[in-house]
Structures are given as structure tokens and as C-alpha cells.
Amino acid sequence: MNTNPKPADQCRRFYGHGIPGIQLEQLTGRLIVVEGADGSGRSTQIARLVDWLETGGHPTVQVGLKRSTLVSSELEKAQEGNILSRTTLSLFYATDFADQLENIILPALKAGFIVLADRYIYTLMARDMVRGMDETWLKNLYGIAPEPDAVFYLSVEPEELVQRNLAKNATLDFWESGMDLGLSRDMFDSFIKYQTAIQAVFRRLQTTYAFNIVDANRSMDSVTKELRKKIGALLNGD
């Protein structure tokens, strides 16, 4: 299976002002994003996709949130204390994203790799929007991001997510439960309310960004099958 280079009629574009000095037509690789809450099966699906793509002869690179050389450890530390204000947290995440964008994503796309992003700007925007940040401000901020070739949003009902998270960790993550928002003092309730709110924002963003919404309440295998089918079609230029 060969990757067909991006056809000319599917010109790559940045969502906004982009990154200074980048020639879009040089970005011949593919950018595939998998979005979804913790417990939606994101990491498992990405690991399976990497196996499948590399076996098929496609070089891949993976990126994800809070993985930059520049700020990941500082961001982690600041988050532990829950002392950052929302604008600061938002800009810190944007810095983390920009660092990976310029140092990993863009060079890999230039080299013709398939970049698999474990979450992208949509999660960052959704989290901030739930916290009342201005959508126009966020769209300007993330105007540096190139539009991916495909975005898969793994959608799982909050009631199912809570079961999966508890089965895996026997606890719920502070941030994934939106505990900073004071929705409820009860973590279980807060998790359900927060994830419901996030999903509502994702559905709204979907109308702008045209994600593929994948029903991930199903078994891992059926989700894998659907992802392979869609990505296969993309790579073959169908």
C-alpha cells in the first residue's frame, strides 16, 4: 500500500494565520487526529493504527498533549498545584502545542510521514470553552494549526466513560472530572456533568471542523475496523 501524495485539489491550509515561513505545499505527509475523552480508547486505537500503518510501510510519528520539550514538565508541575488562572493555563497548553507543531508535526509532514495526533487543538478549545473562554480568542490563538487530513472523535457516553475509568484506575482524574469548575463536590457527579458539557461543545465544534464522529461505545475491534477503513480510503486517495 502506497501513500498517494496529497492531491492538488485538497490543498492544505492553516486554520488562521499559520506559522510564519512555512510553505504549505511542502507538507506532503498526512496528519490524522484522534480525539476523545480518557477511557474512549484513544491510546489503544492509536497504538493499533501505528502497528497497522508501519507494517504497511508507512513511516509514522506520534504527538499528544503535554509532550513538548519546552514546557511539559513546567505545565505538569503548575497543574498539580491547580494555581494557574484559566488564561495562563490556556496559553501554557498553546505553547506546548506550538512547540510540538514546529519541532515534530511540521518537519514530519515535510518528510512525508503520517503524523498521528493523540488529541489536537479541539480538546484544548473544548476544555477552555467549557470554562467560559471566548471562542473567537481561541480560534485566533489556534490559527497556527494546520487543518488535519482527518479527525476522528471517539464518542462514548459519559456513563460508560465513568465505568471504564474506574475499572482501569479505581479513581477519576481531577481535571477529566472538571473538579476545578465546582460543578459538584461529588467527583462522580462532577465527572458526568463535565464530560456531558465537553461533548456538547464537541458537537458544536463538529459543525465547524467536520470531524468524523466514531461511536466508541462499541468494542475496540469494531472501532479499529472502522478507523482502518476510513484511513485506508484516505491514503488511497478515494
Binding site: 510564519p20 519546552l70 514546557v71 495562563t88 490556556s90 496559553l91 505553547t95 512547540d99 480568542w137 497556527i144
Partner: protein, 249 residues
Amino acid sequence: MKTFAELNFPGRLIAVEGLDGSGKSTQIYLLKRWLEAEGIKVYFSEWNSSELVKSATSKGKKRELLTPTTFSLIHATDFGDRYERHLLPLLRAGYMVLCDRYIFTAFARDVVRGCPPEWVRGIYNFAAQPDLTIFFKADLEVSLNRILEGRPKLKFFEAGMDLELSNDPYESFRIFQGRILEQYMAMSGEFNFIVMDANLHVEKQQVAVRKLVGERIDLKQFKRRSPLPLPPPAPPDEKSIEMEEDSAA
């Protein structure tokens, strides 16, 4: 863009801007000393000084990891942290806040580095306009000479070496500062900069700065209601002991 006064904050914010070597830091320091002596609630905040963000910024600078985009974003993060955790609450509490550099530094520098102006301005649009912005305008050569006199080792980003303007850091610094000055002058009217002649003698400038601040801001509104606790008394020296004896006599 509204000022803090227009937004009905009880506090006021004064910002100083200018090139490196324009003498603005000395001037704002002397202004702070005066306001403190007048019993006014003052807080001073410096560009790029947030504890939380500092380690990332210095790592980025030391290892030369920063691109124009991440350079811009990390400074915005730093500003956001100071703005929301210090400046806003202090301005709500009726403080006079003095800023050594404000968002205009980013508007000038980041744009010279190649970031789109609308993008940079959009990021900082959560910040209100200072009630007074003083721009210290020295001749480019004067600023350059002040910095370069001692032939200091210029830091990579400080000299604008990331822009590849010249292989010589001193030459690069000159070109870089010249471009920043152009950006500042272009926005001067839009943001109501009060332009101060920074070629003047340092003490004359301070007289002008204090006069300006006194005219623009009703300082007595910002006095502390309760005095600051006094420092512990100094140990008595011989003279004061003598005087005590005198009065006892």
C-alpha cells in the same frame, strides 16, 4: 481598548515602554520610590518575571529552543499569569500598578520576529489599556551605546540572533533594535503613548515623569488608610544616647 479607569477599576496602571538601554527601568524605579514615600499603595511588575513560567522560558532561551511563535506564546503565558494573579486583584484593591514593559513590548518584538500582528494582538486582547503609557524615546545610537558600551556578552534572543540578520551579535542587535523602534513609533498614536525624551539627563526625566503622573492621576485616592508597620528601631548610637541624657537633665 479601554483603560482601567474606564473599566471602573479603583486602581490605576502605569506602563513604561522603550528599547533596552532607554533608561525606562531606572525611571520607573525612581517613580516607585516617590510613590511609596507618598504613602501610596504601589506594586511593581516586570516583563517576563512570573515564577511559574520562568523556568520554561529560561530553558527555552538557554537551549535556543524558541521559534517566533513559541517565543511569543511563552511570553504571553508569563504575562497572563501576572495579569490574572497579581495585576487584576491589586487593581481591584485600589493599587497603583507600575509595569516595566506591557503588551506593547510583545506587539513590537513579536511582529519584528515575523508573527502576524493581528494574531499577537488577538492573544493579548484580554488585557486592558494602561491608564498611562510612557514611552522613553532615546536616539537609537544612544540606546545602543548604553547597552554596548561595556561590550557585554549579548544573549542570543536579546540580540535577535534567531532572525539571522547578521552573524555579528552587535550588528544583529543594532538592526533588531532599530526595527523594534519602528514598530513602537507606528503604534504610538493608537495607544496614546506619552513620549518622553530619554536623551535628557536622568534626573530631569524623573522630574518630568513625576509631574506627569501627578497631573494625570489623583494620587491621594491611592494612599494607604493604615500606615505600613514601621521597621524595628535601629540600635541607639552614642549621639542619640547623649541627647537622651540631655533631655533628662
